[in-house]
């Protein structure tokens, strides 16, 4: 697999670091890791940089993950970039909302590195 530029969006800096570590443990070669603490900041990052994958929390201040995903079609650098939601909101309703908003995958917190691998690799391979 080629190296991947990833944007991790979560209001917890600890969680952003855990997600990055889980991606590395999944064997994903990370060329660049960009971070944002909420959806609005993430849109700002995407106005400046291209990425290959976005991992995004739902419950965040300022702009939540669902609104962020809905705004992505208006960002040139985000066109075709897969989004995987990583969140404590793991109910069926939230999963449906996230997927219908444009997310390609969903990971519930708490998660294991193995679960991250199972959900992210197919998305990167374009299978989901």
């Amino acid at each position: 697999m080629d190296s991947v530029r990833v944007l991790i969006v979560d209001d917890s800096s600890v969680m952003r670091k855990i997600v990055e570590r889980s991606l590395r443990q999944a064997g994903i070669n990370l060329a660049q890791v960009l971070e944002a603490g909420n959806g609005a900041d993430a849109l700002g990052v995407l106005n400046q940089a291209k990425v290959d994958l976005i991992l995004c929390d739902i419950n965040m201040p300022v702009m939540d993950g669902l609104e962020f995903v809905q705004q992505l079609p208006g960002i040139d650098n985000a066109k075709g970039v897969p989004v995987v939601m990583i969140t404590t909101e793991g109910s069926e309703g939230h999963v449906v909302k996230a997927l219908s908003s444009g997310a390609r995958g969903y990971i519930r917190k708490p998660f294991t590195p193995e679960q991250v691998k199972e959900r992210v690799l197919p998305v990167l391979a374009g299978n989901q």
Binding site: D11, S12, V14, K17, I18, T88, G90, G93, P110
Partner: protein
């Protein structure tokens, strides 16, 4: 374990949530910190539990989920979550214990049938210090589980408002 319907929210049904709360906490520590919580054999001493993380629940159930621990435990949580030495993790302890509380709250509500979609979580708040009293305007009961994290006390509780 099978899901439990939260309605009606009686004291009896609340008591049935205690095992789910314990499982929710254990799963968070196992998956995110690679640490097994244990059950205390003696009564848990509350002295020194000077870190309190709180997450509000609103919807089908209104209340507050709290996680209480010592400062040393909070630093150790950050250390384990980040995979760094405890000496490098102190500045992240509030974020770590807040996120632990948030994940326990989310994991707990997802284990109760119908509550996953019918209950929202607030962002976490972390209080430092033990000399405070929590006043609720519509307090109607509390459940808690007392566990040990690396041998140190950890109290997870939910104060139900309605």
């Amino acid at each position: 374990m099978s899901a439990i319907n939260p309605n009606p929210v009686t004291n009896e049904s609340r008591q049935s949530w205690i095992p789910l709360l314990e499982i929710a906490a254990r799963e968070v520590f196992e998956r995110m910190l690679e640490s097994q919580l244990t059950s205390p054999t003696n009564s848990v001493i509350e002295d020194g539990l000077d870190i309190t993380s709180m997450v509000g629940l609103a919807g089908q159930i209104c209340g507050v989920l709290t996680v209480r621990c010592t400062t040393a435990s909070a630093v150790l949580m950050a250390s384990k979550m980040l995979g760094v030495d405890a000496s490098q993790a102190g500045s992240e302890m509030w974020d770590a214990v807040g996120e632990v509380c948030n994940m326990i709250a989310g994991n707990f509500k997802n284990k109760i049938s119908g509550m996953g979609d019918g209950c929202m979580l607030s962002v976490p708040t972390v209080i430092t210090g033990a000399d405070y009293t929590l006043h609720s305007l519509a307090y109607s009961g509390k459940i808690e589980t007392r566990l040990l994290f690396e041998g140190k006390p950890l109290i997870v509780s939910i104060e139900v408002h309605s």
